[in-house]
Symmetry: C2
Subunit: 639 residues, 2 copies
């Protein structure tokens, strides 16, 4: 299986996000990296590299992983250039890459924190200090930049660093047997392998994966060498936080820091695929099942605890204190994409789609100027004054000192085209429905595929499939899990889906001719979703979904005290195409609402509260907090 | 209005608690104070005084308010001796009092922390260091001990200390204009006044009250003098935590640390009454209204936030992360009792009763061996692994390093007799229904009152009223707010309550003769209570109450996942007198329960969960966690 990355995205939905990333986010981040934002804490990220290169004087400033902000920016730029060539932007990126080259040490090492601040202490705190995390992000960016521009310089810099790391780590005498506290380099090394075909990178990735959690625990050994107090209070004595509590092949539940976890699982999935490692594949499948069937919000948010930004335990999905970091959902998109390489199964794509249209993009407002790190499913602004809800922001923030989420969103959105299709020798797979154009070579023959749709608002998807010459191959179309009665026509002729759908994909195996038209209809009634009864907080509640979009109620549409709105089972729900919020479909209907005025001031009473009929309006969850700030809920009481 | 303290409690319900306090809690606490508990962190409280008295060598150990544990123990002992004379216990208490006398400094100062550890730094950190808090508890204990035993030694010690404090604090030159970070001495000085009639104590109490929150803030001034960093991160810059953000007469919402708040309000109420201070009285009424109509759980738990052990804002009453410290509810009992001195109104007594039978005694198990500091209304043991719920213990603890709640419960329970009656010249008021015997002098004639009842389980209350000679006076009986159709008979003759009930009390004004029998019937159907619709978390939920007792469901009776149980509106509820748990009335009936097995493993689905009929059993909330640990809920979904 291989991805198809040369995809021109013309989709209305994603194109508007890509434009915002290109026009707002990338330029804004560039200013941030260069400390040009007046009311924002300085980033110092570019300046750190200048100091490391000996071209500026001063102190290192910022988080220990400040470098990674530069890396993520470069990767987002690379993806953006793929769709939208821009000479000036490319020149700026080239200059940053040149600076990285000058900051790189003679042995290949590249990290501004250690180079400037603790030159003698490289690789002494893998647990906390993110050297390999930053390296990984630069490797990813280098691969993306090479693919987008064909320029090798950045790739060469990062290969030199990878070679250096490969010398430092390993089982031979004099090598360190460690692995990073924050997984990332593992997946990046696989990417580096994919463009260089250098097997050492694959083996080093596998080494880091298999070293993790082995006994004695490396993080304890290095802490002892540093003379640290032991155990570290935060890590609960068992290194769950960074998935170092057990060898990965013995892990069967997602635990600890959610972003670390999914980045690790991505690499494990890559290695399982590329190295045909069946036992690792089983672990990935088990962990996928645990995450998506026990620890995932309906928005595809993951990591329900603010403390440790972490997974907790099965069915523990509180709506109002959830952490559900934007980056964790982005990681879930990437992981789902990798799981599809192991097996084409819509259970992976459905989660990928759920994350893409809900829990990831909820992290950014529609004009790319405000961000959420945390994506709760219920916000009552006043309760954010409670200490344990202080992370639940009722208003989007301009930028974060720990600025991981905005650039992560930028790279995901800019590369959305990569997730639409994939292929093997005989088949082309359509995973996502998004207006796009690509040319794929199947069976040696180039095939142009043009996809037209107004997804996720409209149920029609049209694909024009044009092989250069007649050719027999399989086109496999995903049938989304939310769709119960899809219809398929080829050149106007109805196709019986019953016999051709396997694991959520409709396999159309035929002789294709230029201009063949595939029409897929995916009816999108509003559906009411209920949660597993083990999810305590959602007992008696429903969430509304239409197509892949999860809905929410906002105070601006529905008034205060959204918890007093309930939806009768019999209530008919209407959909309305609206121009507001960038063009969305809203859901309206009759609901019930407790008559607060009639209740009066008593705190407790034997009276039954009176309920009165009320109109309600639901908007897509991802679009919340783009108007007046206020309350928001996803799960609504059902009456 | 004055309290009637010489009351012999023969009540089955309270007598069993008093026995437990006498036989278990007081001896256990004595061992704790003397470091004689093997698996428990040492208290060192007695030893600290020995060191302060120069009779032992060593370092001070414990919290800065460790002294107060000794004070609370002495007060509990005093109350216990009132009902249960015990020579050995009294001798032990006398020895502790002698030790206090020897630890007292020549100028009257008494505090083992400062005497041993920071002798030069007295009164330099009123905000944090609890000198006056400890002094207040010793004053309360001294008053109680004097009343119980007639011995003046302890009282004399504490008057000397009070005189010293009165010299140190005040508006005259050379005096400190401060007030304590933790209110307590204010109410204690009023008690000291009540037995000594020394007006300076009353004036000093009023001084502390009126200094509080004035500008410039004393806590800031003393912090500056100490050279502290400023502002202290914890106090949010505005001293809400210790109610020092505004002059008390400008406060209209309960904020900050809940125990500090109610202890302050108690003293304010006392001063309003004793000094006929009407503006202070209005503030007390406003704050009472805020606490009980916006910030009180149905169990009379108060202080919903663990952070700062504090009040938050109106209607913010989460069930699962609530703090609701035992001591705060105990403070609410004391405050309600003081408010009754301002006005006989059952709105105060109803809250006092709610706290007594629910949110206070829930803090101790039935055999007095395990305690809760925190009294949540919903516990799912697994969720206590979430960081923000770590204070919500699913199992009672043996003792706490910060051991405020167990001794506070001990003194409240031992003095329960004080809350049953009060009187003025013409009237005797019956506030609580509890088997008891007392003799009251009204209109100059001693009247014996014998109360017989199996309250709170049984609806009958009988009072035998026997004046030594025929006498006209008023007997005022409280009609509890939960009771909608009370019946009253005097000597078998039905009395029309309609015309004689004022503010929740039935005023019987008549010529009383020896052996007059008053029979009150307070029908106790099970009632379903709903919360104000502004309480977000209780939307669609009911709590069950019978008489003054709030009920809960426990896992041991109802299985796991209590959130999946719902109570149909039509469901008939039965009551059952049972011998378990010390003899209680349980509530049983038919409920609905989501069929989890039928649902299967899907995390989300459009299926409606199937509900099946199930028996359920509710037990009194106070008695939860006396059997197997497990889930518990008070608020139940209504179907």
């Amino acid at each position: 299986m291989k991805g198809i990355e040369k995809v021109k995205v013309v989709d209305k939905f994603w194109r508007s996000y890509m434009d915002v990333v290109r026009d707002e986010v990338i330029p804004y981040q560039w200013k941030a990296l260069n400390d040009q934002l007046p009311d924002t804490e300085p980033s110092h990220a570019i300046e750190n590299f200048r100091i490391a290169a000996g071209e500026s004087r001063g102190e290192y400033y910022g988080m220990v992983f400040q470098d990674s902000d530069v890396a993520k920016w470069l990767e987002a730029v690379a993806f953006s250039l793929e769709n939208d060539p821009n000479e000036e932007l490319e020149r700026t990126a080239d200059e940053v890459i040149d600076l990285l080259g000058r900051a790189q040490q003679p042995d290949g090492y590249l990290n501004s924190y250690y180079t400037v601040k603790e030159p003698g202490n490289r690789w002494t705190n893998l647990r906390d200090n993110h050297e390999m995390y930053c390296a990984g992000h630069f490797m990813e960016a280098a691969v993306a930049y090479y693919k987008a521009t064909g320029k090798r310089k950045f790739l060469t810099i990062m290969c030199r660093f990878a070679d250096h790391i490969d010398e430092v780590f390993g089982d031979h005498e004099g090598q360190l047997k460690g692995y990073p506290g924050h997984p990332e380099i593992e997946l990046a090394l696989v990417k580096l392998y994919s463009v260089t075909e250098e097997k050492r990178y694959l083996q080093l990735s596998k080494y880091f994966i298999d070293q993790r959690g082995t006994d004695p625990n490396y993080f304890d050994l290095e802490a002892e060498r540093r003379g640290d107090e032991k155990p570290h209070w935060f890590f609960d004595g068992d290194h769950r936080y960074h998935q170092g509590h057990l060898p990965v092949r013995e892990q069967d539940k997602a635990v600890g820091h959610a972003v670390r976890a999914v980045y690790l699982y991505i690499a494990m999935t890559d290695i399982a695929e590329k190295m045909h490692d069946d036992s690792l594949r089983e672990v990935c499948e088990t962990l996928w099942d645990n995450v998506t069937n026990q620890q995932m919000y309906i928005t595809a948010g993951i990591g329900s605890s603010e403390f440790g930004e972490s997974f907790t335990f099965g069915y523990d999905l509180p709506n109002d204190v959830s952490y559900t970091e934007t980056c964790a959902s982005i990681g879930l998109v990437f992981w789902a994409n990798r799981m599809l390489n192991l097996e084409v199964n819509s259970k992976y794509t459905d989660v990928m789609e759920r994350a893409l249209y809900n829990g990831t993009i909820s992290g950014m407002d529609l004009d790319g100027k405000g961000f959420f790190y945390v994506n709760p499913l219920e916000v009552m602004p006043e309760t954010s004054t409670r200490f344990e809800k202080r992370h639940v922001k009722p208003v989007r923030q301009k930028w974060f000192f720990c600025a991981c989420c905005p650039p992560n969103l930028a790279r995901m959105i800019s590369s959305i085209g990569h997730y639409v299709y994939s292929q093997d020798e005989q088949s082309v797979f359509v995973h996502l429905y998004a207006g796009s154009e690509t040319v794929v070579t199947v069976n040696g023959i180039p095939v142009s595929i043009q996809q037209k749709t107004d997804y996720p608002w409209d149920e029609k998807v049209n694909l024009k499939v044009s092989p250069e010459s007649e050719s027999t191959f399989t086109l496999a179309l995903r049938i989304p899990g939310w769709c119960t009665n899809p219809e398929l026509k080829i050149n106007g002729e109805q196709i019986d889906l019953g016999s051709i759908v396997k694991k959520g994909y409709a396999y159309i195996d035929r002789l294709w001719k230029k201009g063949d038209e595939v029409s897929l209809t995916l009816p999108m009634p509003v559906i009411r979703i209920r949660a597993n009864p083990k999810v305590r907080v959602n007992a008696g509640k429903v969430a509304l979904q239409r197509g892949p979009i999860v809905y929410c109620l906002e105070e601006v549409d529905n008034g205060k005290h959204l918890g007093n709105i309930s939806l009768p089972k019999s209530s008919k729900l209407q959909i309305n195409k609206e121009t507001q919020l960038g063009g969305i479909v809203t859901i309206t209907g009759m609901a019930l609402r407790v008559d607060e005025a009639e209740w009066g001031n008593e705190l407790y009473s034997t009276d039954e509260p009176t309920k009165i009929f009320t109109d309600f309006k639901a908007i897509p969850y991802y679009a919340w907090c783009n108007r007046e700030p206020g309350e928001m809920i996803v799960w609504i009481d059902e009456d």
